[in-house]
């Protein structure tokens, strides 16, 4: 097939890009080049400056220094719209779609000539043509709210293509996808570059970069570390380039074996509703044993958050009971749950697990401020609080100027260290931990995982809620899969495969696949 865009192939070149924000240099002299016909991955830890660089490219930010050129012509984009007119489209981490509109309406939206009454029939034809060409399965007349996150992402991609994007930037596109959906996405991206388009694929996950990219540019702390051919490198080398030192990511060795029969947490027949009152947890029963790490795999939004909140006492169960160390915990009572030995590390660290604007030391006492010696006769004892905070900061190696620095000024990894420090020090029997490494960089991930394993080794039963299969396989003794509010699989980690878990996460069933 002769491509309709081959005569307009684009090479993007960024030279010496510097972009400063108050207190940080997000891009510090970045050089980057993406050629037509390649998937070029931009790899880097969180905060390395990937999103900033792509925002410079699409005209959302203006660089403080450096130039952007298209086919050797220096360009200045004032806005993403201007960039798109020149063929550069972006799929953001957070989608920008109107929920009540159809797919087609969303795609046409923003077209220059669009009037109040859109002529959708011609557009639908073009969209369908594009969708077939790239094998992107979407129904143009479906409404956005009816679509899964993965489908919404496809709409964003179609939208960029529809508007003539020759260079497509995807910022951490797989963060919201199941493994199967991610594979499907990679197919689409490959077929786009075979057409002479350019794909810039942003990620901090080594495996998927290796799976999809032709070339990889590694960013570290705002600087280009190097650009390498995917064929000539390995995940190990990439990890070293990304972090600046060697990292080991294997299944963590356990000092103490799980004792699944000494049950510390029992969830029996629990139902719960979400914030809008719809049933989110459907008669879930599970147990966690002493020293056992039980993972709940699942795509976000399948009731995991609600389940975690029920166990943590933040959300009352509409049916069923929670038992900790053979004692029933009163329903929906945070303090009772705490006292029973439940620790809860929520997904939203900064605004639920911690108070972003408050100091490190005030956050460390969020659960113990009612108890001696932190407070006495309702009066907080500042000197003791500070001394304990200093000890904790040292023990858990939290990087902070002092203990009165607001949490929000700490890096993601250190934020999580503070939260985990507080929870570990409460000496729980059970920890419910939601996406504990989401958004963290490789070094911090290593640290968090090690801490979780230490906790399990010391006898704590851990209920790990995660979407990250890598993490689940690295940590779990047993894997449950949650889909649409129910548990649809319970597999010892040793017998599970990525494929089988990924399939269950997408709502598939194992037996059907086996036939």
């Amino acid at each position: 097939m002769i491509s309709d865009i081959s005569e307009a192939e684009l090479t993007v070149t960024m030279k010496g890009i510097v972009k400063r924000f108050p207190g940080v240099v997000a891009n510090d002299g970045v050089n980057f080049e993406a050629r037509a016909g390649e998937v070029h991955a931009l790899l880097g830890e969180n905060g390395a400056g990937k999103s900033t660089l792509s925002n410079v490219l699409t005209g959302l930010y203006r660089p403080d220094e450096g130039t952007v050129s298209l086919n050797d012509e220096v360009v200045h984009f004032d806005s993403p719209r201007v960039a798109l007119e020149r063929g550069i489209g972006m799929v953001h981490q957070h989608f920008r779609l109107v929920n009540s509109f159809t797919v087609a309406e969303n795609i046409i939206l923003g077209e220059q000539s669009s009037s109040l009454f859109m002529d959708t029939s011609a557009a639908i034809e073009r969209i369908s043509a594009l969708a077939t060409k790239y094998r992107i399965a979407v129904d143009p007349s479906a409404r956005i709210w009816q679509l899964s996150v993965g489908e919404q992402q496809r709409v964003e991609i179609l939208k960029a293509l529809y508007h003539g994007a020759k260079v497509l930037i995807l910022d951490e596109p797989t963060a919201v996808l199941t493994p199967q959906e991610a594979d499907a996405l990679f197919m689409v991206l490959r077929s786009m570059v075979s057409e002479g388009r350019t794909v810039i694929f942003i990620s901090h996950k080594l495996d998927e970069v290796m799976a999809v990219a032709d070339r990889i540019t590694v960013l570290r702390a705002g600087k280009t570390v190097s650009t390498i051919e995917c064929a000539t490198t390995s995940t190990r080398e990439l990890a070293r380039l990304m972090v600046g030192r060697d990292v080991v990511f294997n299944r963590v060795i356990r000092a103490n074996q799980a004792e699944p029969h000494k049950i510390v947490l029992r969830v029996s027949d629990v139902d719960a509703t979400d914030d809008r009152g719809r049933q989110a947890v459907k008669s879930i029963s599970l147990t966690v044993g002493k020293s056992e790490i039980v993972a709940i795999a699942g795509v976000a939004g399948n009731g995991q958050r609600e389940l975690a909140e029920v166990v943590g006492g933040m959300r009352p169960a509409t049916r069923g009971t929670i038992t900790v160390n053979n004692e029933v915990v009163p329903n929906g009572r945070v303090r009772k749950a705490m006292r029973a030995g439940v620790s809860h590390v929520p997904e939203d660290r900064l605004h639920t697990g911690l108070v972003a604007d408050h100091s490190v030391e005030n956050n460390l006492i969020l659960k113990s401020y009612r108890n001696a010696p932190i407070s006495k006769m309702s009066v907080l004892r500042r000197r003791i609080i500070r001394a304990q905070a200093k000890e904790t900061v040292e023990k858990y190696d939290v990087k902070t100027p002092d203990t009165i620095t607001p949490i929000r000024l700490l890096s993601g990894g250190n934020v999580q260290k503070v939260l985990l420090a507080r929870e570990f020090d409460s000496l729980p029997s059970v920890m419910v931990v939601s996406s504990p490494t989401r958004g963290l960089d490789v070094g911090a991930i290593e640290n968090v995982r090690k801490r979780l394993v230490d906790a399990a080794d010391s006898g704590v039963g851990v209920l790990l809620i995660s979407e990250d299969l890598e993490e689940i396989f690295a940590l779990a003794d047993r894997i449950l899969v949650m889909y649409e509010g129910s548990i649809i699989g319970n597999i010892p980690a040793a017998e599970a495969s990525r494929e089988s878990i990924g399939l269950l996460m997408g709502g598939g069933s194992l037996s059907a696949e086996n036939n």
Binding site: M314, H351, T352, G353, L366, V379
Partner: protein, 367 residues
């Protein structure tokens, strides 16, 4: 087109802003006020000089300033305690009326008791009435999530009507039956007048002493106790409060009641220190409750600063009374207070944000 200047959120607030902002706000207000004066053909320097003279410069003037400052201190504290939990209580005005009603009731009912007992009951009744009035707002918010700005404001009008009714439209307990023609409240017996405490030549009204005492307690409560800690968590992050098992609803009611009780104490001090009668018109004209919001804003919600700011504002309004006349612009004091609020709010924005020349669109930007 976008403007070439934009605001960018500061990551940290430098310490000097704590005193820099109030001072610069005041200076800004004085300059703006000066421009207004110039425009109306007055010499701003001489007007300001007279304000200083009549507000602060003599011991006599200063004693009177402290009397005016007392209700401002209480309403300023009242606004601060609520704002610090993110509760926008603008009902200090009505809560203060209720406090005045309560205190006047105690002053009349217990007039045969010793002075100390009368003062104590006036304080208690002032706080109870003001607190209960504000608790209505808190309960509505906690139970039905009504917006406290609206309910507290509405209750100001209700309180004003109630106050007028007690004195002008009924033969209530508070109304002096012997006041024909223009109805007034029952005057308190002299035994019920609040003490002055003399330090050298300056007479410090008892209410002011109470205000300082209360400010210290509030400071302690908010920075050193579990209660204050919980309020801080709720204010900064309701979901973290839920996570930690802190019951926000109950706290909303408590803090509103506390705020109202402080405003009510302001009403009590107005009756006990100053008017010695439930003066329905006088207490409404003063606008203590609304000015308390200015005080709180300028003090950046710090209870100890609120005392100083209240003295300053008290001096302004005291000078305003003293200087009233043909050659003194009557609206000046109000205008200055308005300007101070304006510059204080502007200054507050600058403590959180900084002005930057436009060249980027950053996440933290506000338009």
């Amino acid at each position: 087109m976008q403007s070439p200047l934009r605001l960018e959120r500061r990551l940290t607030q430098p310490k000097w802003l704590n005193w820099g902002v109030p001072l610069l706000s005041l200076l800004g207000a004085l300059i703006l006020g000066g421009i207004v004066l110039l425009a109306t053909g007055k010499n701003p320097f001489s007007v300001y000089a007279r304000i200083i003279e009549r507000g602060f410069a003599s011991t006599d003037a200063f004693s009177r300033t402290l009397i005016s400052a007392t209700p401002f201190a209480f309403t300023g504290l009242a606004a601060s305690v609520a704002f610090r939990m993110g509760l926008i209580n603008i009902g200090g005005e009505g809560q203060l009326y209720l406090g005045a009603i309560g205190a006047a009731f105690a002053g009349i009912a217990f007039q045969d008791q010793p002075t100390a007992v009368i003062i104590a009951t006036m304080i208690i009744f002032g706080m109870l009435f003001g607190g209960a009035w504000a608790a209505i707002v808190g309960i509505l918010k906690a139970k039905f999530s009504t917006n406290e700005i609206i309910t507290s404001l509405m209750l100001n009008y209700v309180a004003a009507i109630f106050l007028d009714y007690l004195i002008f439209n009924s033969n209530s307990y508070w109304r002096d039956p012997k006041s024909y023609g223009f109805p007034t409240g029952k005057r308190l017996v002299e035994n019920a007048y609040w003490y002055d405490i003399s330090i050298g030549p300056i007479a410090i009204p008892f209410g002011f002493v109470v205000a300082v005492f209360v400010a210290v307690i509030v400071w302690f409560l908010y920075s050193r106790t579990r209660f204050g800690y919980e309020v801080g968590v709720i204010a900064s992050s309701p979901s973290a409060a839920r996570y930690a098992g802190i019951r926000a609803r109950w706290k909303i009611i408590t803090v509103m009641a506390l705020s109202g009780a402080l405003a009510g104490l302001g009403g009590a001090s107005d009756v006990g220190d100053f008017r010695h009668v439930l003066d329905a018109k006088g207490v409404q004209i003063s606008g203590y409750g609304y000015t308390g919001i200015v005080v709180a804003a300028l003090a950046r919600l710090n209870p100890l600063s609120a005392i100083f700011v209240a003295v300053f504002i008290g001096g302004l309004s005291n000078a305003g009374y003293a200087l009233q006349g043909p050659d003194f612009p009557s609206g000046l004091v109000g205008t200055l207070q308005g300007l101070i609020l304006f510059t204080a709010v502007a200054g507050e924005i600058l403590t959180r944000y900084r002005i930057k020349r436009q060249n980027t669109i950053a996440d933290g930007a506000i338009v």
